[in-house]
């Protein structure tokens, strides 16, 4: 495809910007860590209560960060993050006190065990979404609460450790490199463990941000937007959901480990449902799906809970009525509802939108200057489509073959022994009245549903029975009847999601963000800018996708589909909702792409477009193929005419 590299100053800025932004984030985290650590190291007793509070903030922030990947990005709402926090805390304490494991090793094992538990749970429940998933996590949280209160080896309600079983109510401090990591509990003792916690927390939060902003994070966002979409971006949805659950659990466990180290003693009463609610509230309040959101949310919510900041509000109510008033838990409930109502994007999301609006206005002219060289005006208007005779099909010539495929839904036959043979170098249109089964065929090709009979081959290999992401990875891309976009993200971000990295970047590399990632980001940004330009969106890269006009949203979907460098592109009603000029533009784009060797299947009603671009046409009605041939041949078939007219008469009746 196009090889022009745009010499864009915008891109240069982005390139320089990424490392700078990463550094900026690190500096902010380090500054916050230093601000917390300095008083903790003073050994001054009056700082202890404050140090404990800030340490709890850090613990909850880390757990909420993990939860954000699960519930904010992938939108799998968990009401049980507190359970993983508790498991991390208890397992690390148990291994260090009751088994002779070195405490550092105990912590590592605790995190691995918790992640495995989360992953296993996900493995069992990943068919679930929405309320059902939330319910499972809720049940796990309740069960965990029960086990902590009832299981003798964990000290039950005597706490862990306790004087009866262990001779002391406190865990011994960890000794590393000759230093004892003391908890912030005793005046005159430097709370050295806080420094260790902060170092680990900074590393964890940098890793979290790396993941959130990587292609891996984008795949979560895709799952959250639509699992259908995510699978079509080459994401193994099932595997990814298990992985993100394990990752979120690991972060929850790490938060719990911090908690255990700070207080050196665990009571089951600390790990109630309210803890899980606190964490999901931190995510929502701060801004679900934003990087800084859960951190901001955790700071605010923990401080509101643990300090007297809400006392004036309680006193105010009590002046009105001394019996009917809300104290901290109730006020936090109110805060939750108000946030959902007035700040659905959370504090960071809301501010981000404001800043974006402000900055967007400023950056506008620069963007215009930077892109004119690559606008689609430069793509050559191609020769008109030549309607070729449909000749005998040569096997090597066939890219996609759907043979005798049937599919029914709950007794309704949606597709009946359908035949669709798509040859290399062609555009193949599928037409037919509404409900004829066209989109269902597209969905059968990309493995959305299993087929009841027949076979589907792509490039000579059977693909029926394979899962969507595998089919997509073998070179099929598609657009959707109603555009499926990240409406709150920029057009650029949408195209970036189309690259194979979304499905293939390993989690470890995303977490570490090796230098290769920076290079890859630059490549992808450049390539995405090219694709945007190709579809006529060269100037709209930074525009929020949801605010683009409908026609441009369709173009954006095509650009995203092209990002995976497919061999076959399935377009589902690409001209729906487009005006004449836009439709003509679309036709030209399709022909350009065909010249570059891309094979297309286009499901379309728009006969002008069909005749303009298609080499072959298949007409369907009631799930079966009615006619097949060149556009002219098919449209001349009496049965086709009747099918269309019949429908029209029905519609007007």
């Amino acid at each position: 495809m196009s090889t022009t590299v745009p010499s864009s100053s915008l891109l240069d800025r982005v390139r320089r910007g990424e490392a700078g932004r990463d550094l900026g984030y690190l500096v902010v985290l380090l500054a916050a860590a230093a601000w917390i650590a300095l008083p903790a190291l003073s050994g001054d007793g009056t700082t202890l209560a404050g140090t404990q509070t800030t340490a709890v903030v850090v613990a909850v922030a880390v757990a909420a960060a993990g939860l954000n990947l699960l519930s904010g990005h992938a939108r799998l709402i968990s009401l049980g993050q507190g359970a993983f926090f508790a498991i991390g805390a208890y397992v690390s304490a148990y291994l260090a006190v009751d088994s002779s494991l070195h405490p550092v090793l105990a912590i590592v094992v605790a995190i691995v065990v918790t992640a495995a538990f989360g992953g296993l749970l996900a493995l069992c429940t990943m068919r679930l979404r929405g309320p059902a998933f939330a319910m499972v996590t809720l049940v796990v949280a309740i069960l965990t609460e029960r086990v902590l209160a009832e299981w003798a080896p964990l000290g039950r309600l005597s706490g862990y450790p306790n004087t009866l079983d262990h001779g002391s109510g406190l865990m011994p401090p960890i000794e590393v490199f000759g230093t004892s990591l003391e908890p912030p509990l005793f005046a005159g003792t430097e709370a050295t463990v806080v420094v260790a916690i902060l170092v680990v927390a900074v590393v964890a939060l940098v890793g979290y941000r790396n993941v959130a902003r990587s292609a891996w994070g984008r795949s979560l966002h895709a799952i959250g937007t639509s699992e259908h979409l995510a699978a079509h971006l080459g994401v193994n949805v099932f595997g990814r959901k298990v992985a993100v659950m394990a990752l979120a659990s690991a972060y929850g466990a790490l938060g719990g480990v911090f908690y255990a180290q700070v207080f050196a003693h665990l009571q089951p009463e600390s790990f109630t449902m309210l803890l899980s609610i606190t964490m999901i509230l931190a995510v929502i309040l701060g801004g679900a799906g934003t990087v800084a959101g859960p951190l901001v949310g955790a700071v605010i919510i923990v401080l509101l809970q643990r300090t007297d900041a809400l006392t004036p509000l309680v006193d105010l109510q009590r002046q009105v009525s001394d019996t009917w008033y809300l104290s901290t838990p109730g006020l936090i409930g109110v805060l939750l509802v108000l946030t959902l109502a007035f700040l659905p994007q959370g504090i960071v999301g809301g501010l981000g939108e404001l800043v974006h609006r402000f900055a967007g206005r400023g950056a506008g002219p620069a963007a215009v200057v930077s892109t004119p060289a690559t606008t689609p005006a430069s793509t050559p208007a191609s020769t008109p489509a030549t309607t070729s005779e449909v000749t005998q099909v040569d096997a090597d010539d066939v890219l996609l073959a759907v043979r005798g495929v049937s599919k029914s839904f709950g007794g309704i036959q949606a597709v009946r022994s359908a035949e669709l043979v798509v040859r290399r170098g062609t555009i193949h249109a599928v037409i037919g009245p509404n409900g004829a089964g066209k989109t269902t065929v597209a969905n059968l090709v990309t493995g959305v549903y299993g087929i009841d009979g027949g076979e589907i081959t792509f490039d000579g290999r059977r693909i029926d029975g394979r899962r969507t992401h595998a089919i997509v990875r073998s070179g099929v891309a598609r657009t959707f009847q109603t555009p499926l976009l990240f409406t709150h993200a920029s057009a650029m971000e949408n195209v970036l999601a189309g690259f194979p990295d979304t499905g293939r970047l390993p989690l470890v590399r995303a977490w570490v963000k090796d230098p290769g990632q920076y290079r890859r980001t630059r490549e992808l940004n450049a390539r995405a800018a090219e694709l945007l330009a190709l579809v006529g969106l060269g100037e709209d890269g930074h525009v929020e996708a949801g605010s683009l006009p409908y026609g441009k949203q369709r173009a954006l979907e095509i650009a995203r589909a092209l990002a995976s460098d497919p061999r076959l592109l399935i377009l589902d009603e690409p001209a729906a909702g487009l005006n004449t000029a836009e439709t003509a533009e679309l036709g030209r784009l399709m022909l350009t792409l065909r010249e570059q060797g891309l094979v297309m299947v286009v499901v379309e009603h728009h006969m002008d477009l069909v005749t303009q671009v298609s080499d072959e046409v298949t007409c369907m009605e009631s799930g079966a193929v009615l006619a097949h041939g060149t556009a002219a041949e098919v449209l001349a078939e009496p049965a086709v005419v009747e099918a269309y007219l019949g429908v029209e008469m029905e519609e007007t009746a």
Binding site: R21, V28, D44, G159, S270, L295, L303
Partner: protein
């Protein structure tokens, strides 16, 4: 980056706001005894806070002049959570620099801070019931308990339960108090060579306990001990006893039944029910406290037994301070408390309440110190006599 900077700014402003809110330390004056109270002012069970602060206020008003002391009360909120208690205690110890700590009243929160207070080396008074709070191996031990503990009550109850040829079953709450109560009675039984036929746990707030009772019935239980924290759960259990037709000879429990039981249960449920408490709950002292409490605060005491225990704590502590003459000499105050000749709650007097190795006010060894109570036909409380008499002659 801008977005992040704005967010950081927002956080910073909240942090400083919150910091302002919590900055309430006050200067201490010389010669004033400063008592720090910690309880769940805003937790799920604020009654434990209310009935810590009010009795301390009442007792201080009564006793400060008597002992010639000027007393200042500082309260902090533990939010009803263990980590809240941890921060609250740090505030009392370091920011408020109190001379003694009263609370936290809830066992879980007390357990969380036990070691920290012990190491701080200041007198600590508690009315929490969980025995684990008291680490008797500590020397010096700073904790003085003016309530009974679950384990002591169990050994007292054991004297009654195993006095005849009974088949004993236990039902305990799935909480700290219930768990330790059941454990200590099992230990007690082992010591006496007696056997416990069945042990069942009840989840607080549970809707039905018939399965648990039917297991007791299957074990042939005729005497039941309930180590239960809330009267409402006791009602659930006695209801199930009636429903399953268990008909035990005796059901023994503790004073926590007072809060709600009689209001919820029907007469048939309390026929054979008795509970044991070291305080004379039908006596004039308790009635007098209730009257003064109601006059001052406009309602009856919510947890009368806690009110009583905290008043005892105030007397013990202020007496010791008056004897030493300096509340800041913590060690001397602790030793003075160990050597107190008596502690009184108004007219009720406890002789030699503590000793060097004894920081519990009530002694399980002496059955005459413990009183057996039951309900009359109208649900009113009646004393049936002391435990010694009951064991000897039945009540």
């Amino acid at each position: 980056m801008k977005k992040f900077a704005v967010a950081a700014l927002a956080v910073a402003s909240v942090v400083s706001l919150a910091a302002c809110g919590s900055d309430s330390s006050s200067e201490r004056e010389d010669g004033v005894v400063r008592i720090g109270l910690v309880g769940p002012e805003t937790g799920a069970a604020p009654q434990f806070y209310t009935d810590l602060v009010r009795p301390v206020e009442l007792a201080v008003a009564d006793l400060a002049d008597e002992y010639g002391l000027e007393v200042e009360i500082v309260t902090v909120d533990d939010k009803g959570t263990p980590d809240g208690a941890s921060a609250a205690v740090q505030q009392l110890l370091n920011t408020e620099d109190v001379d003694a700590i009263f609370g936290p009243p809830q066992s879980g929160n007390a357990l969380q801070v036990a070691e920290v207070i012990q190491r701080s080396g200041r007198p600590w008074l508690s009315a929490a019931l969980a025995p684990e709070i008291m680490d008797e191996s500590l020397d010096p031990n700073w904790l003085f308990r003016t309530n009974y503990n679950a384990s002591d009550l169990s050994s007292v109850v054991a004297q009654l339960l195993f006095s005849g040829d009974n088949t004993v079953g236990i039902v305990h709450s799935a909480d700290a108090y219930g768990q330790s109560g059941a454990e200590s009675i099992e230990a007690e039984a082992e010591e006496l060579g007696a056997e416990i036929a069945a042990v069942e746990a009840i989840q607080p707030g549970t809707t039905d306990f018939s399965a648990g009772i039917s297991r007791l019935a299957a074990a042939g239980v005729d005497t039941v001990f309930l180590a239960i924290t809330a009267g409402a759960d006791t009602a659930t259990v006695t209801k199930a006893i009636a429903q399953e037709g268990l008909a035990p000879e005796t059901v023994v429990t503790n004073a926590t039944i007072l809060a709600d039981f009689a209001a919820l249960a029907d007469p048939e449920q309390w026929e054979n029910l008795v509970f044991i408490d070291p305080r004379d709950l039908t006596g004039e002292t308790v009635a007098g406290i209730a009257a003064d409490y109601e006059a001052e605060y406009g309602e009856a005491p919510i947890i009368p037994t806690n009110v009583y225990s905290w008043m005892a704590a105030v007397d013990a502590y202020l007496q010791a301070v008056a004897e030493v003459g300096d509340a800041r000499d913590f060690d001397a105050v602790r030793e003075a408390m160990e050597g107190l000749e008596q502690v009184s709650v108004r007219d009720d007097v406890y002789d030699a309440p503590f000793g060097a190795g004894d920081h519990e006010i009530y002694e399980p060894e002496d059955p005459s110190q413990w009183i057996v109570f039951g309900f009359d036909a109208e649900g009113g409380l009646e004393a049936r006599g002391d435990l010694a008499a009951c064991i000897a002659g039945g009540c």
